[in-house]
């Protein structure tokens, strides 16, 4: 008879999920599953709507990274129109994407993960959150909050609204950036750079204390996928896909994101609403790959900006070829934020961004399109088919977080095997299992948390899955 431990909900991640840990007859952890239990059905509910509404509609997939969906959707729209967007619009879209990376990573690091990192994995649960951090380290908390605020402010200035701005459209963007707005945003740069230096130094000083976690929270070989520019540098808006292995060897390069379906597949399992993407040539589940901050640092030759590249070199020196530890997602996120701030400054200083031609008007010229970009959590694909009237017939959405699904399951299993000992369920131990998930900063509203009625539940199930007994703590 197998025993099952259910942690529900998984908190401080952006979405609805629960974890099941299966104990074998000997009481050792046999398997673990990360269940995504939220489902909204965007691939269907968009059916029959005009594709021009898609950036606005698809933005509602996720309130954390609405900008990423707006961008992927707008790019798919550009392709349906068959147009190149004006330079000012492209600059604005890039700026908004970096703003999105900045605010989302700030949220992940300061609001959600920093309590574990700074207060400790075994801290009192009631204090292990952003408000506990405010009490313990008000200055750092304030800096974190303001970093996110900077990202959100850029979005607000460009789009008129922080959450779900109506801004990106097929053919460009809707609003011209005013000089005064640009100047206001430039005023934030110095503080942001300082805050990131402080956070990076703090994070690096903490690493020694987390050796156990580094080694056991999702440390396994896998492929990594991300987009790069022609020089192999980090490219978040319009790059080509590069895939590297756990040793850093390039497996595939120069892949066109619009042909994603030729090399990326998606599996569905009955125990999770989130699908399981895999690299087709290696099959399922062997084609497991990771995306997002750590993956991007693993695929690029360089970030392409001086401060971030200095950090990247230090990261690679310190860790050598050790790129497989999921715990490093946190550090990678800080390096990406620094890169984002550098790029934001560059873009704001580019006079082109103030251009007043921000949109191309054209009729529909195609019936199928794929829009893609690097979202904070990884590469995002929107694939649309429309009819002659421009109404959506089908959509397939390959979401960044879902591409880490196989890896997250592997990470949970590894953490459970290391930290869950039968007969002794401690809060800190379970928190580590959750922390394994939190490394990936999964945005589950995207792919599909229920604040649970059941704090921790152990379910006993027989081989047929029938519930035999249930214990609640």
């Amino acid at each position: 008879m197998a025993e099952k431990i259910v942690i529900q909900p998984v908190t401080r991640i952006e979405g609805h999920a629960r974890i099941s840990i299966y104990l074998g007859d000997d009481g050792a952890v046999e398997a673990a599953q990360f269940h995504v239990i939220e489902f909204r059905g965007f691939e269907k509910l968009c059916e029959g709507r005009p594709f021009h509404e898609m950036p606005g509609l698809m933005s509602r997939i996720c309130g954390i990274c609405p900008v990423s969906h707006i961008l992927a959707s707008s790019k798919a729209g550009d392709m349906l129109l068959g147009v190149e967007i004006p330079p000012a619009a492209e600059r604005q879209r890039r700026l908004m994407n970096y703003a999105q990376v900045l605010q989302s990573h700030a949220l992940s690091f300061f609001h959600l993960s920093a309590p574990d990192l700074l207060l400790g994995m075994d801290a009192e649960p009631a204090r292990r959150n952003i408000f506990g951090l405010i009490d313990a380290e008000p200055e750092l908390a304030r800096r974190g909050i303001r970093l996110r605020q900077f990202g959100q402010r850029i979005i607000e200035v460009l789009g008129g609204k922080r959450i779900h701005p109506s801004w990106g459209v097929p053919g460009g963007v809707t609003k011209v950036l005013a000089r005064a707005e640009r100047d206001e945003l430039l005023g934030w740069i110095e503080e942001a750079r300082q805050s990131l230096n402080i956070a990076l130094e703090r994070m690096k000083s903490l690493l020694d204390g987390f050796q156990q976690e580094i080694q056991s929270l999702g440390n396994f070989p896998s492929l990594f996928l991300g987009t790069v520019n022609e020089e192999g540098e980090a490219e978040y808006y319009d790059g080509r896909i590069r895939i590297v292995d756990s040793e850093g060897n390039i497996v595939a390069d120069g892949l066109d994101p619009r042909r994603y379906h030729t090399y990326l597949g998606e599996a569905s399992e009955e125990w999770s609403f989130m699908k399981f993407p895999y690299y087709k040539p290696l099959g399922y589940p062997g084609g497991m790959y990771r995306v997002g901050p750590l993956a991007r640092l693993n695929v690029v030759r360089a970030m392409g900006t001086p401060l971030a590249d200095r950090e990247l070199r230090e990261f690679r020196q310190r860790n050598g070829a050790a790129r497989n530890e999921s715990f490093y997602y946190h550090l990678a996120r800080l390096i990406e934020m620094l890169h984002a701030v550098e790029r934001i400054e560059e873009l704001l200083l580019d006079p082109e961004i103030l251009g007043d031609h921000v949109r191309v008007n054209a009729g529909q010229n195609r019936f199928e399109a794929v829009g893609s970009c690097e979202a904070p959590r990884g590469t995002l694909f929107h694939h649309y088919q429309v009819d002659e009237g421009g109404l959506m017939k089908r959509a397939n959405l390959l979401i960044a977080t879902s591409q880490n699904n196989l890896a997250m399951n592997r990470a949970v299993e590894q953490a459970a095997q290391r930290f869950v000992t039968p007969g002794r369920l401690t809060e800190g131990m379970l928190n580590r299992v959750e922390a394994a998930i939190r490394c990936y900063d999964p945005c589950l509203s995207c792919s599909t948390h229920a604040l649970g009625l059941m704090p921790l539940e152990i379910e006993l199930r027989d081989r047929a899955g029938r519930l035999l007994d249930r214990l609640r703590r």
């Binding site: 005009p50 021009h52 509404e53 950036p55 606005g56 109506s166 421009g390």
Partner: protein, 238 residues
């Protein structure tokens, strides 16, 4: 022409004989809510939002259809009327699929504004979720039945101002839909002159210009007055 003096919401108001209570009130700065009324075309009294109480009258009357009378005492904003208006708006929101957040008219929509003015913060009635289509067969415009409130402004402006009578209503009750000609796709209508007047008078996102994203649709609210003034007074002023 004789002038009538009446009281609206305690304010002395004058109106020309034959003028409606609605117009007399608006000219005096008293804004009676409306959805089916649009200045420049005939009135049908269908939305029932402009119903007013007239002292000595048992029935509530549509201000857009009731001429002013000497000595009339009119109340436009009583608790009873406000309650009725809120419920009418609830009925409209529940009837079709008004997903304001992702509508091309988000922020510019008369229905959305009416709800805000009425203090409507939720709909107690069950949303019906009818499965309705979008007609994008016209080269420049689209018709989204999900957002149609059946005010028939489009029908009247097309018939009375443009003179094409492309639009009409087909079906009855909750199954009523706006149709072009005899029900063919808009793009195949032989009577439509593609003038776009219907789009401009539509209070919601039901009629829209193609290629507009969420919250991007703007409508010219004054063009109709311009045409009507030009036609009646031969004055081309905007």
């Amino acid at each position: 022409m004789s002038v009538k003096t009446l009281t609206i919401d305690g304010k002395m108001v004058t109106g020309m004989a034959g003028e409606t209570i609605f117009n007399a009130a608006w000219e005096a700065g008293i804004r009676i809510p409306r959805l089916c009324h649009v200045g420049g075309v005939s009135d049908v009294g269908a939305c029932r939002l402009c119903l007013v109480e007239i002292e000595g009258q048992k029935k509530l009357l549509a201000a857009c259809l009731t001429p002013v009378e000497e000595g009339m005492v009119v109340h436009t904003n009583t608790e009873r009327l406000r309650a009725h208006r809120r419920l009418i708006l609830e009925l409209l929101f529940a009837e079709r699929n008004h997903v304001c957040s992702v509508c091309v008219m988000n922020g510019q929509c008369e229905l959305q504004d009416l709800a805000a003015e009425a203090g409507l913060d939720h709909v107690r009635l069950r949303y019906q979720f009818p499965k309705l289509g979008v007609d994008t067969s016209h080269e420049r415009f689209g018709l989204d039945h999900n957002r149609c409130v059946l005010c028939t402004r489009c029908i009247r402006v097309c018939d009375e101002v443009e003179g094409a009578h492309t639009w009409d209503v087909s079906g009855r009750g909750a199954r009523s839909v706006i149709i072009a000609d005899m029900g063919e796709p808009w793009g195949q209508s032989e009577s439509c002159t593609s003038c776009g007047k219907c789009v401009q008078v539509c209070p919601t996102g039901a009629l829209f210009s193609k290629g507009r994203g969420v919250g991007e649709m703007r409508k010219d609210r004054r063009f109709l007055k311009y045409i009507v003034t030009a036609r009646e007074k031969h004055q081309w002023i905007r």
